[in-house]
Symmetry: C2
Subunit: 221 residues, 2 copies
DNA sequence: ATATCATTCAATTACTTAATTGAGTAAGGA
DNA sequence: TCCTTACTCAATTAAGTAATTGAATGATAT
């Protein structure tokens, strides 16, 4: 094989090597939601600061995340929508070919398994034809850095507190971080117990945004 | 973080770890074109048989390829279209974020750089509106295992020999293995030197098939 | 100046990788 | 039946890479 082709494969392997660590995948999973500092990420993942910093540098070196300095902190974010799509592809492949993933997904939330999830496409068409209340069930910080156009935020901790304010005349669609996130399941479960019509969006916000669908950002004050 | 989420990330890392070796990416690149035996792959990649076999087993263990026995040989093939899409995503990410890839791609065939490539979408619409001759520029074996519907095969070695038979009244579109493959560039170059109107399809056959676009298979006799 | 946040360094431990060897198996042909 | 071909397997090598920690250093804001 040509030398150049070999070198190209080596470059592709740089990307996969960056992704070949559960810790770094977890970091990317958090970064897919919002830009964050080393310290925040270190707390979210329970890795030491030094270790988190090193993992982030490997990701940065291979182009998967970007960094900017802000005051005392350094904020990291996903380098682009293509990276989110790559992780989505990865998830899909794992689900299709690794039996263990299927098993784990069934265990993640046995009581909330919901066959009635709708796709982004279905949501878009429903929004045109009937009254939908779109709920973003993620921490406020993530909502502020981007959410589906028209969505209303109810952070996971405040579900119980705010749930009674939700009007009964609309179909509720809830979404959260993505396929491995429990929040939208919990929300749908809670709404149904109260007799509301509730559906879960299959995709999370990162996939929605990466697909080029309409979203909006609330500037942090 | 929940234990299950950690385990899910570990499963994702199994896939990326399988892909985290230039040799295995190369093997997958060949397998994306056609089902092949260990021996064939060993010759294509210049790896020893035992080494090739071992790499293939790692890929198989993590669900990226499938194996079947046929007579004395064991034939390996890509496990599914999702794997081809994953590799496409990977390539895209590498091109977007690694400067070295851009540099290498410019070097791969400096004389054949062609801005006039068309996408699969454009090809499909062109096929409805004007007379197109679609050329598959890959070895016959790969063509036989699947090619774009309506395509005619001219194997890379026989370009010079068959090129004068190509009618001048049609627009020629040539495709080959994919973005890192030189054959379609060579074909377009040769056709243009003879004054024919020729375009290159951006995508290779694996991407076309993985996108669910129409293809056909010639059964090997 | 001092506190805060992050990076870097050095050292340790653990794992991965590629390649090789030699034995072993299984299918098919002579 | 035995030989050849095609591949696998298990064990081993050497080299390399990775993950992690704690301490030291560097940068920035108050």
């Amino acid at each position: 094989m040509s030398e150049i082709k070999k070198q190209l494969f080596e470059q592709l392997a740089l990307i996969t090597q960056s992704l070949a660590s559960p810790q770094r995948i977890e970091l990317l999973d958090y970064l897919a939601q919002a830009e964050r500092s080393v310290d925040e990420l270190s707390q979210l993942t329970s890795l030491s600061t030094a270790n988190t910093s090193r993992h982030l540098q490997i990701l940065k070196q291979n182009g998967l995340v970007l960094m900017r300095k802000q005051g005392k902190s350094r904020l990291y974010k996903i380098a682009g929508d293509d990276v989110i799509q790559l992780i989505s592809c990865l998830r899909r492949t794992a689900e299709n070919h690794l039996a263990e993933v299927t098993r784990l997904k069934q265990n993640i939330l046995p009581s909330y398994i919901d066959k009635e999830a709708i796709s982004s496409k279905e949501l878009l068409s429903k929004m045109n034809t009937c009254a939908i209340l779109l709920l973003d069930v993620r921490p406020l910080k993530e909502f502020e850095q981007g959410h589906i156009k028209g969505a209303v935020n109810i952070s996971p901790e405040s579900i119980e507190q705010k749930i009674n304010d939700i009007p009964h005349d609309k179909t509720v669609v809830a979404y959260c971080r993505g396929p491995y996130c429990a929040y939208s399941y919990q929300m749908v479960e809670a709404l149904r117990q109260r007799g509301l019509k509730a559906l879960r969006l299959e995709e999370g916000f990162p996939e929605w945004k990466a697909a080029g669908l309409p979203f909006e950002i609330n500037q942090v004050v």
